[in-house]
């Protein structure tokens, strides 16, 4: 079966593109979530201190 390599390459590259995109979004989301938690807790701390 000639050209089977092309078919495999196409599928691998396609799934690769989607996987990389998904992972990059997930990573940025995790980093953002950490930042959000950090800011929220520091806000709470300063709110407690001023009480």
């Amino acid at each position: 079966m000639k050209n089977l390599n092309s078919v495999f390459a196409a599928y691998l590259i396609a799934w690769g593109v989607f996987f990389i995109y998904y992972v990059s979004v997930a990573r940025r989301a995790a980093a953002l979530k950490d930042e959000l938690e950090r800011l929220k807790s520091s806000l709470n701390q300063s709110a407690n201190r001023s009480k």
Partner: protein, 225 residues
Amino acid sequence: MKKNALGAAVVVLLLACAAYAAFFIAPTDAKQGVVYRIIFLHVPSAETGLVSFFICFIANVAYVLKRQPKWDWMGIAAAEVGLAFTTVCLITGPIWAKPIWGIWWTWDARLTSTAVLWLLYVAYLMLRTLIEEPERRALLSALFGIFAFIDVPLVFGSIRWWRTQHPQPVIMGGPGSGLDPTMKAVLFFCWAPMLALMILLMHSRYRLEAMRGDLDVVRREAEAA
């Protein structure tokens, strides 16, 4: 988190089923042999890309009329995901063409139009990176997104007319031409997992943008405090 993991698992399963159908259920093509099986990736990703861009268009119109940030988040998510699918279409096209025609690119009408579509939405993303103020960025990119989408049928139409003036090898004769009924069924079946993947990717990108919006709000509160 759990819901996300479950959703991702479902999508992976659907994609695996689609791949199985593409490799084992669809018969081998008499003329093209095994290579034509790329169609089960190439065509659904093109169509899913267009669906994403349509969703982007709806979100853009909604933002211009309602000015709620969620429509802006939807717009950027749909545009990026649409671009991912369009990229896959543009990569699988040449991988298909090379073994059959011996050349990577044939200026086939559909592929050329898809390339212009890709450029349009790359421009959309570039525009967004060049405007800092969030509301201005949302409004102006929404307006460009609207113009870009209404251009799409004109791009496809004019390029198809152009190619009839100068016939060139066509990667695929048209959605249904010369396709065996089993192939058609598998092609249709392969679209659903792509749409599911689109929803999964859009959902996670939307949430990322929503979090950014929240972060801005919290940052402003922190500065005020």
